[in-house]
């Protein structure tokens, strides 16, 4: 109770403190007057009388301090006072305040944003139970460099015989058309083994997962994603047990997955688009018989507790031996063999992203270093400039703790302001990450600012600012304020040691900025080189649309062909359309890839070559703007002739018949074995190579066949969507966007139920395909510009303080006859000397660092001359600007005022 009362009194007395102090001051004055009067009476001289009175009274400020400490809440009060004082101090030096705040904001903002992205991709756990035990399984087939997804019979064998996993499950993407309850849409649907959800360790939020009996042909059940359930079915909890229409067949919904669940993991490869719905795998008897076919199934397994991935690999090796013996004799005779590969799921999905992201992280680390160095430098300069003030305060009775408190208050204010702006900046940056980039990331596309990351970068930057503010002052108390004061008063230039430290910091910021600029410059060069490359097709004024014809509406080859004919006719006759064509795959897409044999071709060693295959309908060469090198394109009557024809790209021609005229030569699908009964195709034309895998990619062998040669029995009998994807391309006379509505209308005019996938221009598709690269360029560029700004701020800060400190020296020089240009040279020369040193170190560092970039650059040398020439020039120019302001201030020093003021 007593403590409470005292606290209350202290609180109230705090508010009355100003009045009390006023009163104390008045009383002090009176006291001293009275004492002086008494001393006078005792016979002292007036001056001596007052001096004795003052001496006897004691140190007024110290007395006030003891009074304050005894009364009120000293900590809270001094905090408020320090804050007010600090704000006043900071406002007196706006350049310093703005520089430090900006530095902190830039540093914290950029770092947090990037860390958040990297964290989301590489560090944050996958959205499954104990994801560390999940393993991705793939096959390696003799003769193929790339890993391949599983073939169904091999998967079943491994599933049945393995002992290392709690379970393994297969999945394959099978987009489907969802109709009923609203306009028809294309959905990413995955066919999955019934136990997939068990393997992932995630249960449906509503209903149940699939059961084993449901994993067979003819059972049409589905599990919905949370997103689809919410978006399409209004989050209706009674959906379980009802039917939905997929590819015009009814499917019974058995479950709904929880929000945040996403599978397959997003990626650039096959089977790498998160599904909106899952249906049972239901392998047919045919699929299970066909060894070595349909290498398209992703497989995921959960390691048993206590089993390591190495142990699993050993077991898989044994299994592979057994599986190989089950392959048909003729394949084994040709040394065919397969093996199984196990990789941790995390590595498998984010592997290809690791390099660019780690690079980004490296850039971020550099920016963080620049930030810290800069803040340290600025704070150090300021602390140095205030040595005198602080020494004076110490002489007047301030304790060391009080001085530190004051400096901490300043540090805290700067940190809070910088941090707040930094948080806003990081949010803006994360929001600016384009969807095209997030769609290539494996996990949830939404990236948010990570609080822990924010705390980390914030803490580092803020600690730096406070540490460097406080460290120099620690020496003050030890040496005694008096000596500092004397030293500072007699000195005309700042101390050498501090000077070296600060110069070192400036040099390092310039170095870091240089390295970042080099990296950004190389990326920019690489990107412009990429954009300048010829993709082999002309994307200008081409509109594309894609649809997939479901088996239910288009059961026979004849119905599919009728659709082709109808769409081609309607699209070709649209006003504003120059030409139209249908293809199975547009440029920059993934193609059907097959082994191919050339007749009388140059004997090739190594694996049988595989070739991209497209079927086309209509004049695809002029429509897509592919250059015809030799021969002709297909004619409308091709299917009436007995001869089967093909058009190949230059690379294929070169590979099989280097230096020869290939028109009239023949090739056939499949390996060069006696059992291969495929018919020969005659080459009637050669076209330029198209960048199939995206701009800048190595062109692949490519062959085009008229759709009329597409086997009817596949469309008639084989389940699945092979041959049922239709991509329409139209070359327009004007802006292709103007035709979007009419193309849509034509397609729905043929089939109202058909779900239309994206209708977009070829330019947009091209833009989306380079978006990740564009993102790297923009981010690295932003980092580099940020670092450049920071370096400029740091340089400016150092020179500005140096000029302020050397006012006396400069004044003395001017008074002794130094000309203005000499002064200018002195200041700018000081700055440029540091920059030159930074450039030298930076150039040396860049030579090493940029080597890491080699694999990420396109047609750009890591020692690119242009970049190495431009970057230093930019740095020097910016540095000159940073030097200019302090130099101007030095010129304005009036010798008389400057010398008197000291």
């Amino acid at each position: 109770m007593k403590t409470l009362r005292r606290l209350f009194r202290r609180l109230t007395s705090w508010s009355a403190s100003a009045r009390d102090e006023e009163r104390l001051r008045a009383e002090f004055d009176e006291h001293i007057v009275m004492q002086t009067a008494e001393n006078l009476r005792a016979g002292l001289s007036p001056i001596e009388a007052r001096r004795q009175a003052l001496l006897k009274f004691g140190n007024v400020e110290a007395i006030k301090e003891t009074y304050r400490d005894a009364r009120g809440l000293p900590f809270l009060e001094t905090l408020v006072r320090d804050t007010r004082h600090a704000i006043r101090g900071l406002r007196r030096t706006p350049a310093f305040t703005v520089a430090v705040t900006l530095t902190l904001a830039l540093g914290i903002g950029i770092n947090t944003a990037t860390f958040s992205i990297v964290n989301a991709v590489l560090i944050r756990p996958l959205p499954f139970d104990q994801p560390g035990r999940l393993v991705a399984l793939t096959q390696r087939v003799s003769g193929f460099a790339e890993k391949a997804p599983f073939s169904p019979p091999d998967f079943i064998d491994v599933q049945r015989e393995q002992q290392s996993f709690d379970g393994i499950a297969a999945y394959v993407q099978r987009p489907a058309e969802l109709s009923g309850s609203g306009a028809p849409v294309r959905l990413d649907v995955s066919k999955v083994s019934w136990n997939l959800f068990d393997v992932l360790g995630v249960r449906p939020m509503l209903g149940r997962p699939f059961t084993e009996p449901e994993d067979r042909p003819g059972v049409d059940v589905a599990v919905l994603s949370y997103d689809l359930w919410e978006r399409r079915f209004g989050a209706d909890r009674s959906i379980v047990g009802r039917t939905i229409t997929l590819d015009r067949r009814p499917y019974t919904v058995v479950g709904v997955m929880p929000p945040g669940f996403s599978f397959p993991l997003r990626g650039s490869g096959f089977n790498a688009r998160p599904a909106a719905a899952w249906v049972p795998m239901a392998f047919t008897a045919e699929q299970l018989r066909a060894r070595g076919n349909e290498h398209s199934h992703g497989v995921i397994g959960r390691l048993k507790t206590g089993t390591s991935i190495e142990e699993a690999r050993v077991e898989l090796e044994i299994l592979a031996g057994r599986v190989n013996e089950r392959y048909p004799l003729e394949l084994r005779n040709r040394n065919f063999s397969t093996s199984f590969v196990a990789m941790p799921l995390r590595e498998e999905t984010s592997g290809p992203l690791q390099r660019p992201l780690l690079l980004l992280l490296g850039a971020v680390a550099l920016v963080l270093l620049v930030t810290c160095a800069n803040v340290a430098n600025l704070v150090l300069s300021r602390a140095a400039a205030r040595r005198r003030e602080l020494a004076l305060r110490a002489t007047l009775g301030s304790s060391r703790a009080r001085l530190l408190q004051l400096l901490l208050a300043e540090g805290a204010i700067l940190s809070i302001a910088g941090g707040a702006i930094g948080i806003l900046l990081s949010q803006a940056l994360v929001a600016a990450v384009p969807a095209a980039v997030t769609s290539t990331l494996p996990t949830a596309p939404e990236i948010s600012v990570d609080v822990r990351v924010l705390a980390f970068t914030g803490a580092i930057s803020i600690l730096t600012s406070i540490l460097f503010a406080v460290i120099p002052q620690l020496g003050l108390g030890r040496r005694g304020p008096g000596s500092t004061l004397q030293e500072e008063a007699s000195r005309t230039t700042p101390g050498l040691r501090r000077h070296r430290m600060q110069s070192g910091l400036v040099v390092s910021t310039v170095t870091f900025a240089f390295v970042l600029l080099m990296g950004a410059g190389l990326f920019l060069r690489s990107f412009s080189a990429l954009m300048a490359t010829d993709g082999g097709f002309n994307p200008d004024r081409v509109l594309t649309a894609s649809v997939t014809l479901p088996r239910e509406g288009y059961p026979m080859a004849s119905t599919v062909r009728a659709f082709h004919e109808s769409l081609f006719r309607r699209a070709s006759s649209l006003a504003g359309v120059r030409s139209a064509a249908l293809v199975t795959d547009l440029p920059l897409e993934r193609y059907e890839r097959r082994t191919v044999t050339g007749e009388n071709s140059v004997a090739t060693s190594g694996p049988p070559p595989s070739t991209n295959l497209s079927w086309v309908y209509g004049p695809f060469v002029p429509t897509l703007g592919i250059r015809l090198i030799a021969g002709r394109t297909f004619t409308d009557v091709e299917d009436l002739q007995s001869q089967t024809v093909v058009i190949v790209n230059q690379r294929l021609a070169q590979r099989f018949w280097p230096g020869q005229d290939v028109l009239g030569k023949r090739l056939k699908w499949g390996a060069d074995v006696p059992q291969n009964q495929n018919s020969w195709l005659t080459i009637v034309g050669v076209v330029a190579d198209v960048a199939d895998d995206g701009l800048g990619s190595e062109p692949y062998l490519h062959a085009y066949e008229p759709f009329s040669q597409f086997p009817d029995f596949v469309l008639d009998n084989v389940s699945g969507a092979f041959g049922r994807h239709v991509k329409l391309a139209v070359r327009t006379t004007d802006d292709p966007r103007a035709l979007v509505a009419s193309v849509r209308a034509e397609i729905t005019g043929i089939d109202r139920q058909l779900a239309l996938q994206s209708v977009e221009t070829m330019e947009d598709r091209l833009g989306a395909s380079v978006a990740p690269r564009r993102f790297s360029v923009v981010t690295l560029g932003a980092f580099a510009v940020g670092a450049l700004l920071l370096a400029a701020i740091g340089l400016y800060g150092l020179l500005a303080f140096s000029v302020a400190e050397r006012r006396r020296e400069i004044a003395l020089r001017v008074a002794l006859g130094a000309e203005r240009p000499a002064i200018l040279r002195m200041v700018v020369g000081h700055g440029l000397k540091l920059v030159a040193l930074g450039l030298t170190v930076g150039a040396l560092a860049s030579l090493g660092v940029t080597r890491v970039l080699t694999s990420l650059l396109y047609q750009t040398d890591t020692h690119d001359v242009v970049t190495f020439a431009v970057v230093p020039v930019v740095l020097v120019l910016i540095s000159l600007v940073a030097c200019a302001l302090p130099a101007m201030r030095a010129l304005q020093v009036e010798p008389m005022t400057a010398l008197r003021s000291e």
Partner: protein
């Protein structure tokens, strides 16, 4: 630090006693009086008296108001309140007790305790 605490407490007691003896007087007079009686205890820092006075006033032991000094200057006059008087009595008693105990301890010889 300890040392200061003791002296501050002692000083407060001396202030109260002075006011009890002399009636309402101003700060300077209190300082002079304590100086005269205590010898050199307060010669160094007369000023420390004022925070003590303010503290005593905030605790309600003394009251003060502005008035005119002997040579017609403005001065703040302090007087003992009822609470201050009680406090003085209590402190004086406890001081006497303490002093007595300490005295006995110093006077005690080893054989007294056997």
């Amino acid at each position: 630090m300890k040392d200061t605490d003791v002296r501050q407490g002692t000083l407060a007691l001396m202030v109260l006693k002075t006011l009890d003896v002399l009636g309402p007087i101003h700060g300077y007079a209190i300082a002079r009086r304590i100086e005269q009686i205590s010898g050199d205890l307060l010669t160094v820092n007369q000023g420390t008296l004022y925070p003590v006075l303010l503290k005593l006033e905030q605790e309600g032991s003394v009251a003060s108001e502005w008035g005119a000094s002997e040579n017609n200057r403005r001065a703040r006059f302090y007087r003992l309140t009822r609470k201050g008087r009680k406090q003085l009595q209590a402190e004086a008693r406890s001081w006497e007790q303490t002093a007595a105990i300490i005295e006995r301890f110093f006077a005690a010889k080893a054989e007294d305790l056997q």
